[in-house]
Amino acid sequence: MTRPGIGFIAAVVSGGIWGACWMIVISVIFMLVSGAITRPPVGIALLAGVASAAVLAATMPSQRTPGIQIASIAAIIVLLGGLTLGAPLGLPLSQVPLYQLVAIAILIVLIWISNRLVIGDLSGGSLPRYQLELMFIRMMKGLGFVVFTVIVALPFYVMVMTSLKSQQSLLANPLDFSIDLSQGAESLFRSYIELFTQFRFGTFLINSAIVSVATVIITLAFSIPGAYAVSRLRFPGQAFLSRSILLIYMVPAIVLVIPLYAVFSQIGLRNTLTGLMVVYPATTIPVALYMLQGYFRGLPAELEEAGLMDGLTRVGVILKITLPLSLPALASVALYVFMIAWNEFLFAFMFLDNIDIFTLSRGVVSLNSSEVPRQHLMAGAVVATVPVLFIFLWFERFLVSGLTAGSVKG
């Protein structure tokens, strides 16, 4: 035993927070997965967390034997089971017992591990400021991981699961995302099948792909020579251009949309994919040029000079030396531009009226009406998200290094 000091208080506070936090997280996941409804006993879980932390903090770090660890786990079990009268999740154990047992086991282990990680080898006695802060930071980091994972994953989970449910069952219990696998694949994926057969999402997918790929190609074709000129060639206005090109990217799209709408209506470009393929590159070229020129500048100029000496023309140097060296940057710019074009909403929404040429963004908006059930809207969102997410995860390395290397210096 140690004499309880500030370290003990800190450990116990952290234990209480963990107890409540994990109870909320685990019982919500339990409800989402199993479809059962419960009112989680958060207060009791808080006490259980306090007790478990107290057991650990009350012993010297060197004396925390497996026996003490078991005592710490037992404290959770006893409090959680006893104070809730045998219903640790607020439900009698006879209801969905399998899900409950798994959830309770995970809950107990998580509370214990969190306490163990936070307290670590710190004693429960009086702690110097350094170690007290260490404990605080461990707790904050742990909570940060939980909170960030939840706020990012929950919406995407709801998006996917809603698309697999029916409107009635969601209205009956908005928490029930349990999947009934016995209904068969056709019934499970009904909203997707209907999107592609009745709502023409196949066409939208192709349109989006055409517009995005064309935007990438046009953007690269325009910005590679531009970026090379700005980064390598000397001409009046070079310094000004390299600094101010990004300003173009700051012009709000909403300011451009009225004149472009007016002009494109009069010259017949408004309700066409060509119109989008003109507007999108114009908005992405400045940022692509900026990213590329940052990368080109970082390439050793000696290589290019050697190429010039050996009789290559400028164009030859660009094609044979510069471009092969900057493949990572090109990939990241292409990916970034693809993302912008694929996700673009405003111009697609303003310009496209004809359902044959809807892009996915425009198509999903057309699902947002009271006549179309919610699961169709979410299925549309999934269809729009999956390709770009897939491509992104595939090329993530490029994107991250290219985005940050090209523009962030200093």
Partner: protein, 414 residues
């Protein structure tokens, strides 16, 4: 040599200049132009003559008398068309016998001059003709050749009449100052929220552990996914009747009755006897903004953190600096540059943001920002001129901010 290089540089930059001028700079100026014009959405199509041509009478035998009838009208109810008229080619084998007095025929070529016609003008023009055998053989329909319309109408977009009516309307409406204030709240808190979340997330992932790559990928999801997908997901998730979040909060006992996150303007909160109105919908869209854009600041801050040398921390460690002191006195000053740049960029982008609020609330419940107001004025109320005037305000506010930022920010950071 230098001259050739210069020429080459200009040639290489030419396509970029051309498209940026055409799609960005041109419209920017055009927006100023439109903002001084009383132009409605319907005015985008100038008044024009509309003709509808049909054959009257049966053309079965040679010598039958038929008539070609043109119904003509002015597409606009108000605008005059000057020098209106049309030309058409009559089908071969129809010989005109009697003409309307406004028309002349040379060979098979018909020309009708109507002069200036008023708005709402309607009339018919009859050309009587006899059928000849060649017409029956060819089986041509008079409608096969479409009349060519002539005549010019005054186009409000291109004439030189200007008025300040749009600006007067914008600035005199009581809503404008509210919209401006909402824009500022949204921009400042949305930017700050995204930066703070990004800084926190970067702190979390600045150590190596199993699953770090997975978490980094996951944290970028909100930024990578299309705005329509995540915005509608939030709408579904926060729905007061069938939304998951309301159910969760109710089950945990956090709230008693469902909160209409995107529909409720404000709730009165009583805190220690102090009463104030908490803007629910505005806070929710700000939360969405912070949620959606924290990955961007997270990426940049993490990259910067990983380039800070660990020696500094080792030295601080030896000197006895606590973890929070290390963060406050070492990390933050090192990150100040990138934080300033991110704040500037995100501030401008958030101010420009239209899609998010438009999709989440449509500008209802006290969330209408300037950009949403542009859309509302121009396309919902169909007053293009007023919309353009608001867009001018957006641009000027933006320009002011940019100038302020560039004047007061240290030079070495960009």
């Amino acid at each position: 040599m230098a001259k050739r290089e210069m020429k080459l540089a200009y040639v290489m930059l030419l396509p970029t200049f051309a498209i940026v001028l055409a799609i960005v700079m041109g419209p920017l100026l055009a927006n100023f132009w439109i903002s001084f014009k009383p132009v409605q959405l319907g005015d985008l199509r100038p008044a024009s003559l509309i003709t509808n041509e049909r054959l009257r009478g049966d053309a079965e035998n040679a010598g039958d008398a038929v008539a070609i009838e043109y119904r003509i009208r002015n597409s606009s109810r108000d605008d005059t068309i000057a020098g209106a008229g049309f030309t058409d080619t009559l089908p071969e084998g129809l010989t005109p016998t009697a003409l309307d007095e406004r028309c002349t025929v040379s060979g098979q070529f018909l020309t009708c001059e109507l002069g200036d016609i008023e708005g709402g003008f309607r009339d018919r023009i009859r050309i009587e003709a006899t059928v000849e055998p060649s017409y029956l053989e060819n089986a041509l329909n008079p409608r096969d050749s479409r009349p060519v319309i002539t005549g010019t109408a005054d186009n409000v977009l291109t004439n030189f009449e200007f008025s300040l009516e749009n600006f007067r309307r914008v600035f005199s409406s009581s809503e404008f100052w509210h919209v401006l204030r909402v824009s500022m709240y949204y921009t400042i808190f949305g930017t700050a929220g995204a930066l703070v979340l990004g800084l926190f997330a970067a702190q979390l992932l600045n150590t190596t552990f199993a699953g770090r790559g997975f978490l980094r990928g996951l944290f970028l999801f909100p930024y990578v996914a299309p705005v329509i997908a995540v915005a509608f997901t939030w709408v579904v998730l926060l729905d007061p009747f069938s939304g998951t979040l309301n159910s969760i909060l109710q089950q945990i006992g956090f709230i008693d009755s469902p909160v209409n996150f995107f529909g409720e303007r404000a709730v009165t909160i009583n805190l220690f006897g102090l009463q104030f109105d908490f803007p629910v919908a505005l806070s929710t869209v700000i939360a969405f903004e912070a949620w959606r854009y924290f990955p961007l600041s997270f990426l940049f801050i993490l990259a910067r953190m990983q380039s800070i040398s660990s020696e500094m921390y080792e030295a601080a460690e030896i000197d006895g600096a606590t973890p929070l002191q290390q963060f406050w006195y070492l990390s933050l000053p090192q990150l100040a540059g990138i934080l300033a740049v991110l704040f500037l960029l995100r501030f401008i982008w958030t101010f420009n943001k239209f899609d998010d609020i438009f999709l989440l609330t449509g500008g209802a419940a006290g969330t209408r920002t300037l950009t949403v107001d542009v859309y509302e004025q121009a396309f919902a109320v169909s007053n293009l001129g007023a919309g353009a005037a608001v867009a001018v305000v957006v641009f000027i506010v933006l320009l002011t901010f940019s100038l302020l930022f560039f004047t007061f920010s240290p030079k070495d950071e960009a």
